[in-house]
């Protein structure tokens, strides 16, 4: 630590005003404040903030909350790979090895491209490097299929950071969630690589006979036309290569094909716990997303026109990426509703729309991405109504 500090101090003078590399001061500053909490303090006059938790530290908390999902995802990618090629004797180490081999490059590309663009913009616009990408850079790999081509990750990250964020003025100014912008970009730009049976990494190996790349969402979607009971189809799925992969219990634990980090509801809940305990994420949003999805599921059960709508409501909470979206995407403080009442409405509507899109739009099997992006756009409107309702209430109380 001491060594790092000394090294940073040693090169500092060349970045300061009049130094050789003055133009790149903000690149230096970003690195410095990323490693060490800034040692500057407020003026004697004015407000005094004594909390050491600045935005960078806050972002680190979110990343720590994502670590369970990431580690589980890495293991799961390898696990699914060996199951799909029918090699049941693989050791834990081999599974993690395959997982790392697939996932780490995605993480590296995501961070490399995203931070590169952030640095360029901070130098062009002469402002300190924004911290926002620390979290986005980790979210992007977690919502990608393990087999995604790396150039697509790069293009999507560049698109999301430039169009989704920098065009609006940088961190804290974006209207929609940046990581989901990246995923939505890929979803519409290169649909064949991010939908269908891409959720298991096969590599060069041949898949075992009987292997199917179908996801729970696809199975439930097919039930609309076949009319088979969704739960029964899920329970019997995977016979021959991955027995019981879509049972209720396994869906919750998450040893199933899917995007890298989204499969495990359990790991998402651990992440949620970290976010809530540290006060980083809003528990109101997380709870209301689950609540909204569950309520909509129950409502559809009542209507019950086809096999998908008759699927038990709690299944909606564990298939697909609803849990991951609710915990890490919907709680993004920049794009979510800001008022406390607004957060309930915002989260509830995300859950509701997720189920609505899943069940009634066969073109988009997973609804959480589009639901969050949609509600991101409406969050300011929700806030507006909450604030004006509050104003009205207080005006009525006023006696003057």
């Amino acid at each position: 630590m001491k060594f790092l500090r000394n090294q940073l101090d040693k090169v500092k003078h060349s970045f300061e005003k009049g130094g050789k590399l003055e133009k790149y001061y903000y690149a230096y500053e970003a690195l410095d404040t990323f490693m060490f909490a800034p040692n500057t303090t407020n003026d004697v006059k004015g407000s005094q903030i004594r909390d050491a938790v600045d935005l960078k530290r806050l972002m680190m908390t979110v990343i720590i909350a994502m670590v369970p999902c990431l580690l589980f995802g890495i293991y799961n990618v390898g696990h699914q790979h060996f199951l799909a090629i029918g090699q049941t004797s693989a050791t834990l180490g081999e599974k993690i090895g395959i997982g790392l081999w697939q996932v780490l490059p995605i993480v590296v590309v995501s961070y490399g491209v995203g931070l590169g663009i952030e640095f360029v913009f901070s130098i062009l616009r002469k402002h300190p490097v924004n911290e926002g990408f620390l979290v986005t850079g980790m979210l992007i790999p977690l919502v990608m299929p393990p087999d995604i081509p790396l150039w697509q990750v790069g293009v999507a990250t560049a698109f999301a950071v430039i169009i989704g964020k920098e065009a609006f003025g940088g961190t804290g100014m974006n209207v929609v969630n940046v990581a989901l912008t990246a995923r939505a970009f890929l979803y519409f730009a290169y649909p064949t690589d991010i939908s269908g049976g891409v959720w298991t990494y096969l590599g060069d190996a041949q898949a075992i006979a009987g292997y199917s790349g179908a996801t729970p969402l696809a199975i439930a979607g097919d039930a609309v036309s076949t009319g088979e009971n969704v739960v029964a189809s899920l329970n019997t799925f995977g016979t021959g290569w991955n027995e019981g992969v879509f049972t209720l219990q396994n869906l919750f634990i998450g040893l199933r094909p899917g995007s890298v980090g989204e499969t495990s509801t359990l790991m998402c809940l651990i992440g949620a716990l970290i976010l809530i305990i540290t006060g980083t994420g809003s528990w109101k949003i997380i709870v209301s997303v689950f609540g909204g999805a569950y309520a909509m599921g129950l409502l559809l059960n009542l209507v019950g026109s086809n096999a998908y709508t008759q699927m038990p409501a709690h299944y909606h909470l564990i298939i697909g990426g609803l849990a991951f979206g609710a915990v890490f995407m919907a709680t993004d403080p920049v794009t979510a509703a800001q008022t406390e009442t607004g957060k309930w409405v915002y989260g509830f509507l995300i859950g509701l729309f997720t189920v609505l899109i899943r069940v009634f739009n066969p073109a988009y099997p997973e609804g959480i991405m589009l639901a969050i992006l949609l509600m991101n756009v409406f969050a300011p409107l929700i806030d507006y109504f909450v604030v004006s309702a509050n104003k009205k209430r207080r005006l009525q109380r006023a006696t003057v």
Partner: protein, 220 residues
């Protein structure tokens, strides 16, 4: 649509290509562009720009309609009763639109099939009506012609830029010529660019680039 009082450019007679009149053509290309600055005619700009060819035809069609309607309205400007001016303008615009439509149908049937509804919708294109209201109603035929040409070309310029990127990124070709295949590069088409949302993004980027070059800011 603009209800502002027509901007009167010309008081006494001056040559058609005076400095002031030349501005009527050059301004809409940049600082007064109908799409990126006035934000008119965006609907058709998103709809017809998946291919360069369609964008070119649309540009020509709109330029003809705007310029000729401008001239005719300008000639009639003192005789049109102001209470029914919109319907008169519409009648004249639709005359030109039908002419263009029939010409396309006669000489380039495939493109006509592809564009038909959008050519018809030029009648309601805000650029055409906007120029009639804001310019032709208050100016002589000469400057009105230039204004119509300028705005048609300004619209077309953006259409061509958007069409270029959409066709290149979306399908890997320009005017139907497979660029990447010719260079022996494998190119995966970007499906987003073929959707209207992709066009919206490109128009946004064009506006971003344009404003950072010429420093234009909205004034309220």
């Amino acid at each position: 649509m603009s209800t502002a009082v027509a901007e009167v450019v010309e008081k006494k007679s001056e040559p058609l290509f005076s400095k002031k009149n030349r501005k009527l053509i050059s301004n809409p290309l940049d600082i007064d562009n109908p799409i990126t600055v006035q934000v008119l005619g965006v609907c058709s700009a998103l709809a017809v720009t998946t291919q360069m060819e369609a964008a070119v035809v649309m540009t020509i069609a709109l330029t003809i309609v705007t310029a000729s309607s401008n001239v005719i309205i300008s000639l009639l400007r003192n005789t049109i009763p102001s209470r029914i001016r919109i319907i008169v303008q519409l009648a004249i615009v639709s005359l030109w639109v039908i002419l263009v439509d029939q010409l396309l149908k006669a000489y380039s049937y495939d493109l006509w099939k592809q564009l038909s509804v959008y050519v018809g919708l030029i009648i309601t294109n805000c650029i055409v009506m906007g120029r009639l209201e804001a310019f032709a109603m208050g100016n002589k035929p000469g400057p009105s012609l230039l204004d119509g040409l300028g705005n048609g070309l300004g619209y077309g310029l953006i259409l061509l830029i958007v069409g270029f990127f959409r066709e290149l990124l979306g399908g890997g070709s320009i005017f139907g010529f497979k660029v990447f295949e010719a260079m022996n590069i494998h190119y995966t088409g970007n499906g987003l660019m073929l959707l209207p949302a992709g066009a919206c993004v490109i128009v946004g980027v064009v506006i971003w680039v344009q404003r950072s070059i010429n420093g234009h800011r909205e004034t309220h």
